[in-house]
Subunit: 340 residues, 4 copies
Amino acid sequence: MINVAIMGATGYAGEELIGILLRHPGVRIKNISAKIEAPARISRIYPKFQNRIDLVCAEPDLKEIIASCDLVFLALPHTVSMEFVPKLIKAGKRVIDLSADYRFKDAAVYEKHYNHRHKDKTLLPAAVFGLPEIYRARIKTARLIANPGCYPTASILGLGPLAAFGLVEPGSIIIDAKSGVTGAGRKMSESFLFPQINEDFKAYKVDVHQHAPEIDQELSKLAGKKLKVTFVPHLLPLNRGILATIYARKTPAKQRAKEKLASLYRKFYKKEPFVRIRDEGEFPALKDVAGTNFCDIGIKESAECIIVIAAIDNLLKGASGQAVQNMNIMYGFAEDTALL
Amino acid sequence: MINVAIMGATGYAGEELIGILLRHPGVRIKNISAKIEAPARISRIYPKFQNRIDLVCAEPDLKEIIASCDLVFLALPHTVSMEFVPKLIKAGKRVIDLSADYRFKDAAVYEKHYNHRHKDKTLLPAAVFGLPEIYRARIKTARLIANPGCYPTASILGLGPLAAFGLVEPGSIIIDAKSGVTGAGRKMSESFLFPQINEDFKAYKVDVHQHAPEIDQELSKLAGKKLKVTFVPHLLPLNRGILATIYARKTPAKQRAKEKLASLYRKFYKKEPFVRIRDEGEFPALKDVAGTNFCDIGIKESAECIIVIAAIDNLLKGASGQAVQNMNIMYGFAEDTALL
Amino acid sequence: MINVAIMGATGYAGEELIGILLRHPGVRIKNISAKIEAPARISRIYPKFQNRIDLVCAEPDLKEIIASCDLVFLALPHTVSMEFVPKLIKAGKRVIDLSADYRFKDAAVYEKHYNHRHKDKTLLPAAVFGLPEIYRARIKTARLIANPGCYPTASILGLGPLAAFGLVEPGSIIIDAKSGVTGAGRKMSESFLFPQINEDFKAYKVDVHQHAPEIDQELSKLAGKKLKVTFVPHLLPLNRGILATIYARKTPAKQRAKEKLASLYRKFYKKEPFVRIRDEGEFPALKDVAGTNFCDIGIKESAECIIVIAAIDNLLKGASGQAVQNMNIMYGFAEDTALL
Amino acid sequence: MINVAIMGATGYAGEELIGILLRHPGVRIKNISAKIEAPARISRIYPKFQNRIDLVCAEPDLKEIIASCDLVFLALPHTVSMEFVPKLIKAGKRVIDLSADYRFKDAAVYEKHYNHRHKDKTLLPAAVFGLPEIYRARIKTARLIANPGCYPTASILGLGPLAAFGLVEPGSIIIDAKSGVTGAGRKMSESFLFPQINEDFKAYKVDVHQHAPEIDQELSKLAGKKLKVTFVPHLLPLNRGILATIYARKTPAKQRAKEKLASLYRKFYKKEPFVRIRDEGEFPALKDVAGTNFCDIGIKESAECIIVIAAIDNLLKGASGQAVQNMNIMYGFAEDTALL
């Protein structure tokens, strides 16, 4: 039985974490905190938790968190996590950080794309990028997990085998991604009011989104060479889900290879409990993965081009579900506990 | 050709007014203003107006408005309108005010329900409640129109004949109303963010909404006696439209009368261009009126009870469409100009 | 460990049952059937179940179902269930029927409102109306459960205490109910196409819906006298959830009583794991119960009238969740197993 | 004043045509027909047209149509139009066909992609592809207009200048298109039921959609050489609008050219009343064009790649709006009559 704290409980990822962990037989939620005007029962903030959890959500009290918990989930905004992480690690706690603060090995990349000085570079080398499909072994013993972004989770899983086996031209990768509104976090902005989003659809941060370098970093590692994607995110008028439609030109290596891509993907993800590959030419819809921790992938090959579609629930495999999957790996629970 | 100003152009009603008036052959929009951080072309604020109107929207400049316009539309928040109305009237302008500031004959009722002192009681007697179906004759010559609220428009039109002919018990009227999100105005509030509204539905201000006394005032006038409704509004996950489901117990007078209610309603609204009565037992859907200035009404009678359903587009018949209908009456345009 | 069959797996309730039962540690799904053109893996029909269940869904084979299962869920259309139930009961199986076929004690009421002859009146007396909050003791030993309708579940739970204690005038009850689209089942009809429903809202079967007599039957029992409600359902542009706004005139008994209604409701539902009462004057939203098996209830009292709002997820507490709650009671599982 | 007939009035495009033409001062709708079980007033089929048009919609009666109309709009399914067109043309009528039947100069392409023999090849050479931005001169005198598909309208307008000036590599063009649900027509299919579409998003007909060859045909003409796009359409959970995100590699010619693409696009579309170009790096949203006949285009250039986003309302510029624009050109009305 492990004791956990959730910092940032009033955001969408924090809310989702509470829901998942309440179903987890090996976890006790001991502390819930957030930037909040006045302390309030979490079941007042989210009436859906009435009769299910009785904790009060208040401003974070690190001393209390350290005294009562083994593991801390940080569902905090970018740049805020690194205020707390060093103290928690120093106190011997294990940490799963859902923000971007520890995702980049090169602090300069973070600083450029998040437009903020990095205050805790010393922990960067020890932080493990929390994508179990690639880093499971290191996650087991990690003290600090940098939980991946939602777009990167879908994109890296969708492109992983192609990058690893050198099947696509490095400069040709286009990721046309579409996300539900919770992907942007609970932000007070006129552009997220219901009548602005409903019956609308648009691209944003065209080719300048901060998740692109995260995708580049991980795909480059898999490919063994520098790789840079064209990334265009769009905003869908729905609550949850990311669908990434990916296009890339084949390399001569691929053109020679005879094996069906779906079969190659199946081998690559053979032991993965949360990656499902469709038959060649069949593609996932958001509703196949919404409310689940799965990443579903479909593939089609034309004469010159490969088309891959990867779908996840941005709050589960793209955030809180993956965080709990990481926790399950770290503490030896069955990897799918509370996630099915 | 008349020259008009629109104050409060950045709200939903202001935006809708621009769209309607751009199609009006007898109107020139001369001035557009709003509470705004910095002046901006209205076609930058609403790209849909690109190539269609080139005015700059800035903080209101009353002097300029008075110099250039015959008629001023105020699409301002409640309590703000009455800062401007007296000056405009004094300068000889005609005014159509979409706020609640001049809707109540008794300032005390306004002050109680809007929780704000009324600063311009002298103009209250002259203000005409802008519901053409009841006050058309007075609207023609009015200098100041108090454009009705959206819920009151649907409710008063739906109950008008019943109140006027004494067919229902005064204390028995229940209005269960449902509104699209634009009905609440463009408010920055967490509860209006897309993921809060989408896939959700709820009642709010249960039996304490500020539109109830507006309904009471007008129905009491029609009935010739004091009448008080039970009013429960709900928030629909869609952009535009109000549907009010109305229940009332029949009086003995009604129980004796043989005439079908639908036929009685048709007579009552015989000359009305924007009220449509369904056959007895058939009811309107929001999509029948969305994007139109119509109020559609369906009626059904059971042994003891009458059920009426009235539907409007809250931004058209419930706000800006009705405002232009009033303008058409005031200036002698065909009443449906720019409204079909 | 019990073995179950699901008949009617291609409807919304059947799909939901599979999802819930896959999380239930005491249940093995052994047989899945439906009216279907050709047998197909259930994970092809619902790709979200890929890697989770591997059964083939085919036309029902009663012999096989009887041989392999202890309990059968019937998620079949009305009038179809009674073709199968007698045979299953005769073979010694326990049955939870989600259709309306066994809900009415008086077959004549069923025949009138479902416009179909009842073919199995002999089992009607033994069938238990599966609302645990009222019939838990009988559910424990029942062989045949008539799982309640979605509107009746919300309405009866919302009105239960008022009916039982005689606090409202029997003829005055108005239920203005609003349901998500899955409430109507997976019907091929032009009126359920996305563009017909999206951005629309309307009433249907005004005062003639077949769930009204089900509500009347159960409230009359609770009240100990004949009671008849006015029931108007509406269709919401969202997937799941029912919110019933209920109005009733107080009896003199209520007018004398001093106790707050919320407190009286809390006592009435004191031991109920799935009913939650809000503080007086606070009301539930659909999103508080969507995805859960809870029924949330809010109450407000004015001078003459009581307003109650009850909210459920129509596919959970209104159908498949309640069916599993009944199963848990029948087999001695903790009542909330697989339901939190 | 011209007299028109609308064939196929019960589809989305037919419904939209009625709405537009009712606002057109130079048009009288004389005949409305559709495949329909029994004749019915069009105001019964669409209650929103109550009090506005009183015609009965029945099966088409060609003799009557020919006797009473100058111009016939065919909003019929593909393969049905060509049953009627030859007879109408022979009778001297002008025809605007919204189906695909006359869009292809090469009947073999049509037959391959629509999987149906072409029965009227003789009229193919005379049919004018109804994209005013390219064929205005020929539209003026055309007897038969093949109104373009919705995806092709957005795609061809978005890529037109790039193809015409040879700025992108012919084999590199990727069109990732997203459409609202009315784009698919009013089809009875389980996959278009509200709960299937709502909160979902998916690709369909990946790289095999029948609109791709229509795009290829027109872009090849503009480019003066064979051009073949990769086209992946997706289905958005909203009623109306198409947004196409287009990617292409630059040619050396483009790499040398200094002129901003936005400026080049503005010149190309200088006299077009319904094409609006955003400033470089700014992009349209669906809501900027929904309910309008505009095509809005945004452009961004990176080192190797050009990104273009084009947005239209699929029922207006993508179907019925463009059809009326063509009619305005054919009959010498101001081109934007009834379209603003």
